[in-house]
């Protein structure tokens, strides 16, 4: 089966969001890119299974997510991250001079259980509905809602979002000042 040009373009167009998901999920750019590559290869060899007219991105995310988990199960010991080394490995600062500092957020994200991280990324960042996320993860909608809720709650407590003093432009400025010292 020859991938039609528009399909090829659609696959290529999906790469940035697949990468963002894979990087956020795995915490490693190299590994994320391997995951994206494997996802594309698998998608191409299973194109006949893709139902035209359905959401291509959701289908690709499903493949990537399943690849990640089968690999994760294999490498569980390596991947578990009690000391936050996930965050340490995650050095993605493409644009120098960016005034936003996501380090705290990334390290908090790394502390979430993978199923919560995944649910939050799908719903809160990748733009999938709860129903789509449930389909991608192969679980009930209520399970996704619960995971997203727990993920947000956990992040809030890790980031002290409840503490008003830590919020807003002041903390941003403070972080910037600390970084510049």
């Amino acid at each position: 089966m020859t991938p039609e040009p528009d399909l090829r373009d659609a696959l290529l167009a999906a790469v940035p969001s697949l990468r963002a998901f894979a990087i956020s999920l795995s915490g490693q750019v190299d590994r994320a890119d391997d995951l994206v590559q494997d996802t594309l290869l698998r998608a191409l060899s299973n194109l006949h299974r893709f139902e035209r007219g359905t959401n291509l991105n959701a289908w690709l995310f499903t493949i990537l997510r399943n690849l990640f988990h089968s690999e994760y199960r294999k490498r569980r010991r390596e991947v578990e991250d009690p000391d936050g080394s996930y965050a340490g490995r995650l050095k993605v600062q493409p644009e120098q001079g960016s005034r936003l500092d996501f380090e705290d957020f990334r390290s908090a994200l790394a502390k979430l259980p993978p199923d919560q991280r995944e649910a939050l990324l799908l719903v809160g960042a990748s733009g999938f509905s709860y129903e789509e996320a449930a389909h991608i993860c192969g679980c009930a909608v209520g399970t996704i809602k619960s995971r997203v809720n727990r993920a947000r709650f956990r992040l809030a407590s890790l980031l002290n979002v409840d503490d008003v003093d830590d919020l807003g432009p002041d903390s941003m400025t403070r972080a910037a000042l600390q970084n510049s010292i």
Binding site: R19, A140, G142, N149, A156
Partner: protein
């Protein structure tokens, strides 16, 4: 909340009751939720804006050619 109930919850939770179960979980106020969401999307956007590595373009181009050469 009293702690008298709850120790004998069913071990298997039917799927549909998970939605109700949400009500028992701690929930963030909308302001905090928005802040978390904003930070998450900002981090994600930064990743999305990274240029696509050539390997993916090459991969799709190569497969294009290879598939065309295959007699089917």
């Amino acid at each position: 909340m009293t702690s008298e109930k709850g120790n004998k919850l069913a071990r298997v939770i039917p799927e549909e009751s998970l939605n109700n179960k949400l009500a028992d979980e701690p929930k963030l106020d909308s302001t905090s939720q928005k802040r978390i969401g904003d930070q998450l999307r900002a981090m994600y956007d930064e990743l999305m804006q990274q240029p696509v590595p050539d390997r993916f373009k090459d991969l799709l181009d190569q497969l294009d050619k290879k598939e065309q050469e295959k007699p089917r």
